[in-house]
């Protein structure tokens, strides 16, 4: 876990400010940005995976049962998955978080 920026002293930084924890941005939860939430009607879903393919945030994740579901930590609610679903299986609904 990286600590918050304001806690860093100059000694805590790597030489040249190199970041050696690949993918550490996972700590930053962009789910907060979301107003709309994708909700899948699994009776319509064919598990085609287009929602996963087109998600700019890699927030539509494959699940064990073969379906895909949003990762609420990162889904920004852009609505691409709902728009691109060929089977109209995904609806964007107001996110009452």
């Amino acid at each position: 876990m990286a600590k918050p920026m304001e806690k860093y002293t100059w000694r805590d930084l790597n030489v040249g400010c190199v970041i050696d924890e690949p993918g550490s941005s996972l700590e930053y939860k962009t789910g907060d940005w979301r107003n709309l939430l994708p909700v899948t009607d699994y009776s319509k879903c064919t598990k085609c995976g287009l929602c996963w393919l087109f998600c700019p945030d890699n927030a539509m994740k494959p699940k064990d049962d073969g379906f895909f579901g949003p990762d609420l930590d990162y889904c920004k609610g852009c609505g691409i998955c709902a728009q691109e679903c060929k089977f109209a299986a995904i609806q964007m609904v107001e996110d009452k978080k």
């Binding site: 100059w10 790597n14 040249g16 400010c17 970041i19």
Partner: protein, 387 residues
């Protein structure tokens, strides 16, 4: 090891070869060209196993060095004047990313008017970019400095780029006797570059991230600590160089300074002319010394204080214009330095040798005997200007 007569530019290329540089990236500009031409020959003849990039600008020359150094290669570039200014943006980034690139800066005047000849207006405009800066007075120093520059820059306690300054034409294009160290000895002094972080898919790192206000100050402070702390390493490397190669260097050099209350201070090859003047003065019974900053960045404060302890009058000779400042760049810095250290020294600012103008040693004799007194608007005297 015997001395050979060689053009200093070619000698510098040979030094880069001895340092086993792996990526050379450069763009031609007078008076730097002979260095990179000779390196191109060495690569073409298979004498130096390196990638040679004929880039399309100096900006790209340094950018490619940054990329290559980040990927783990020992890199070399060289430029002058306008080329350095075109690189300017990347100078800061090379030092902030802590990449030990070595650049030989063949000092030349800045346009306009266009001048291919030597002075220090180029390096003075780039003096505060976070690079270690060395100045050389002769060909041997240039060769030795290139080898030392890699050892200094690549030291894990340093990791900074190093600029080796040599004067355009008056040093770069003259033939001098130079002693080249044996490759074996250089190899023992300068082991292969072992970078701390590299762009390697096996261990992905992010280089060149951006800093929000909460972290930028700490990032810059860390860099400042690195360049300040580098001085100890530079001195250590110079000392070891002396042991291995039997040529001794110090960060601040002096000439005839013992028992002298009067001293010149200057950078680079103009010091050879000043030394001639000092010899003339000595023959006439006037004792004058010379202080030469071989190391300019980090500023060698303690070492300078030490040599200034008996000096009462200091004549600072600079090859750059103030450009609207109170005085020329090095003089301003020395004034602040003297003030902060409570030095009671009369300091005079002389500007000479602009755009390749020759300075007769007699001029320095005259200065020493007739101190500059401010009588007009200027806080400095330009030697030989026709008013």
């Amino acid at each position: 090891m015997k001395k050979v007569g060689i053009e200093v530019s070619l000698a510098i290329a040979e030094a880069a070869k001895l340092a086993r540089v792996e990526v050379v990236s450069a763009y031609p500009i007078t008076p730097q060209t002979h260095i990179v031409e000779h390196l191109a020959e060495l690569v073409a003849d298979g004498e130096l196993e390196a990638a040679y990039l004929n880039v399309e600008s100096e900006h790209s020359a340094l950018s490619a060095c940054v990329g290559a150094a980040a990927a783990g290669a020992r890199t070399f570039t060289s430029t002058s004047a306008q080329g350095l200014e075109l690189m300017h943006e990347i100078l800061f980034i090379a030092s902030s990313l802590r990449l030990p690139i070595v650049m030989v800066l063949v000092n030349r005047a800045l346009s306009a008017p266009l001048s291919i000849w030597g002075d220090h207006s180029d390096v003075m405009a780039a003096r505060d970019c976070g690079w270690i800066m060395l100045f050389c007075e002769n060909g041997q120093e240039a060769v030795d400095s290139v080898i030392m520059a890699y050892r200094i820059g690549e030291d894990r306690r340093v990791l900074l780029p190093v600029a080796v300054n040599i004067d355009g034409f008056t040093l770069s294009h003259v033939i001098e006797p130079v002693e080249f160290p044996d490759q074996e000895l250089v190899d023992s002094f300068l082991p292969p570059y072992k970078p701390l972080f590299t762009l390697n898919p096996e261990r992905p790192v992010t280089m060149g991230a951006y800093g929000m206000p909460e972290i930028y100050t700490e990032a810059k402070y860390a860099q400042e600590m690195a360049i300040l702390n580098s001085k100890a390493v530079i001195k250590e490397v110079m000392e070891e160089f002396g042991k291995v190669f039997k040529r001794n260097y110090r960060v601040v050099e002096t000439y005839n300074l013992e028992n002298s209350e009067l001293a010149f201070l200057a950078l680079g090859s103009i010091n050879e002319n000043i030394k001639t003047a000092i010899d003339i003065l000595k023959a006439k019974g006037t004792n004058v010394g010379l202080i030469s900053l071989r190391l300019y960045r980090p500023f060698p404060s303690e070492e300078l204080l030490e040599v200034l302890k008996n000096v009462k009058r200091l004549m600072v000779v600079e090859r750059a214009m103030p450009q609207g400042a109170t005085n020329s760049p090095l003089f301003n810095e020395l004034s602040a330095f003297a003030f902060h250290n409570g030095l009671n020294i009369i300091m005079e600012n002389y500007i000479a040798g602009l755009g390749g103008r020759d300075v007769d040693p007699q001029e320095f004799v005259n200065i020493a005997l007739n101190p500059f007194k401010k009588d007009g608007k200027l806080n400095y005297k330009i030697i030989g200007v026709r008013e």
